[in-house]
């Protein structure tokens, strides 16, 4: 690979992003590890490059730009303001079979209230970035967890099941396992407290905290344990057959956006589900893609496609590569600022990252030749 060629492409990419109104920013490489682990969970930690500060604080090399950009946004002004950022630089992540240090470039757009147009702007810019690297006829996977959320709300499900299913979105085998438990095996609690009311259970738990010498300071309270204990009876009842059928049919829907929209409408009608708002938003987004000149045939919607990180809240997309992870990955993460900050301010946000090492190989006409 020629460094000069890489440099030129990187420069052109940067010009593309800043030309679209996204201010280029330079960000630190080293952050407190908890920033990433708190947001992305323990599973990310094993991919992190860790070191320690003098005082013992655990530090990490940035594994991506989305979290650092969001931190920068929150630290440099009023959270809800509108701002577009672009970046390019090394990120560090343990990847089996791939280099642990690699270059990512991308864009993050925060604070825009016109979500539909912002989603379309991002996707169009991602297509332009792919074209810059000579990626021919990309087939882009798109998904929308907001549709699944709307489906869950319209189905006859108990709240604990709704939460479990929502959490498993993006992990289809796991979802299928849950759905298969419809009317099936129950999980009866092994306790003499079964059938008691919340107050009785709460008192019994309080006693156990006392006799075991375990405090509840900072941890789970007797209140929340009792509430969940009583609510668990609903989990044992499983998923009603009708709801299980609708979920299974939903997860299978895939194809061009137009065809998928039609299939979703048919499903909603047949099962008498109120998906009107979510489908209207989906239709508006398809229209916006069209208005942005995005070829509908380049898009492959899949109803079960989503990311399992809980700060992703809606539209997601991915330019797949033939050999490993995505060339470009992006999506809407409206919950991230709330997770980082005081938990109150949720700033609408959408963005994407280009994996430069992968896209350079994918975009070459013939690998290894110039």
């Amino acid at each position: 690979m020629s460094d000069k060629a890489t440099g030129n492409k990187a420069g052109a990419l940067r010009a593309l992003f800043t030309g679209a109104g996204h201010k280029f920013i330079e960000l630190p490489i080293v952050y407190p590890a908890r920033v990433f682990v708190e947001l992305a969970g323990e599973d990310l930690r094993r991919q992190l490059y860790l070191t320690s500060a003098d005082g013992g604080e655990e530090l990490a090399l940035r594994p991506d730009f989305t979290i650092p950009v969001t931190l920068h946004h929150l630290a440099s002004g009023i959270a809800t303001r509108k701002a577009g950022y672009s970046y390019l630089g090394p990120v560090f992540r343990l990847r089996p079979g791939e280099s642990a240090e690699f270059i990512q470039a991308g864009v993050e757009s925060l604070g825009r209230r016109d979500a539909t147009a912002a989603d379309a702007d991002m996707l169009k810019l991602a297509f332009d970035a792919a074209a810059l690297f000579g990626v021919k006829k990309p087939k882009v996977r798109i998904g929308d967890s907001a549709l699944f959320a709307a489906l869950l709300n319209s189905l006859d499900l108990s709240p604990p099941w709704r939460e479990r299913l929502a959490r498993a979105f993006g992990d289809t085998p796991r979802l299928k396992k849950f759905i298969a438990s419809a009317n099936g095996k129950s999980e009866p609690p092994h306790s003499e407290l079964v059938g008691a009311d919340v107050a009785t259970v709460r008192a019994a738990i309080g006693e156990r905290f006392a006799t075991t010498g375990l405090g509840e300071a900072g941890g789970r309270t007797a209140e929340e344990i009792a509430a969940r204990f009583v609510a668990k009876a609903e989990l044992a009842r499983g998923i009603p057959k009708r709801a299980a059928g609708a979920l299974t049919a939903f997860l299978k829907i895939a194809g061009t956006p137009e065809k998928s929209l039609a299939a979703l409408r048919t499903l909603a009608k047949r099962e008498q589900l109120d998906l009107d708002d979510a489908l209207a938003a989906f239709a508006r987004r398809i229209a916006a893609f069209d208005a942005h000149g995005i070829d509908a045939d380049a898009l492959a919607f899949a109803a079960d496609f989503g990311r399992r990180l809980d700060y992703y809240t809606g539209f997601v997309f991915e330019f797949p590569s033939p050999r490993n992870g995505p060339l470009i990955g992006g999506g809407r993460y409206d919950s991230m600022t709330a997770h980082i900050g005081d938990g109150k301010v949720a700033v609408p946000a959408v963005g994407f990252s280009v994996w430069l090492d992968r896209i350079e190989i994918a975009g070459k006409p013939r690998a290894g030749k110039r």
Partner: protein, 230 residues
Amino acid sequence: MSAPLILAVPSKGRLQDDAAAVFARAGLPLVSGATRSYRGRVESLANVEVAYLSAPEIAREIGAGSVHAGITGADQVAESAEGRATLSLALGFGRCDVVVAVPEPWVDVETMEDLDDVAASFRPRHGRRLTVATKYINVTRRFFAGHGIADYRIVESLGATEGAPASGAADLIVDITSTGATLHANGLKTLADGLILSSEAHLVASKAIPWSAAQKKTYAAILAKLKAAV
């Protein structure tokens, strides 16, 4: 003379005594070097060098390929040498289970599925992630990932892990237990499907170190004699 086979043997406690006993029964008595030395040899085998290390160190060195073989627990191998070691022979001592244990007052939590529910709703409620104290960081991550649990954070424990929930250092633990008495004394209970692995001491060979023909032959001889003795 060709390079010796390096065999790592536990340097302290019950494991050291049990390992010494099984080697003696096999007709391969271990001989320590000078006082306080951490090197030794096998009485009847000339080309073996014995390295006395702690059980976790033995697994790490086997994984790193700095010793050929050793006596350590399957739990330690799972933690520090997964995929880089062969468990050649179970030795029948050092039995323990690695389990997930939660505070006994958590009456609503009986399975890993319950724990996943609790983990997912923990941060919105408490403003931090659910924490798990353990010495078994890699074992815990694999097991939790296998159950689809992502919303937690590991707190590395160096001392008495079972005390972590009482001291407030963590919400729950992953640790070894043999009878469950220690867990119970600390107000903890294991989950119904929370058994991660059942371990015992093994003769373990490293896949991460080059083996000469002579070293292989020596190892085969040790394995055969130990096999006859357990």
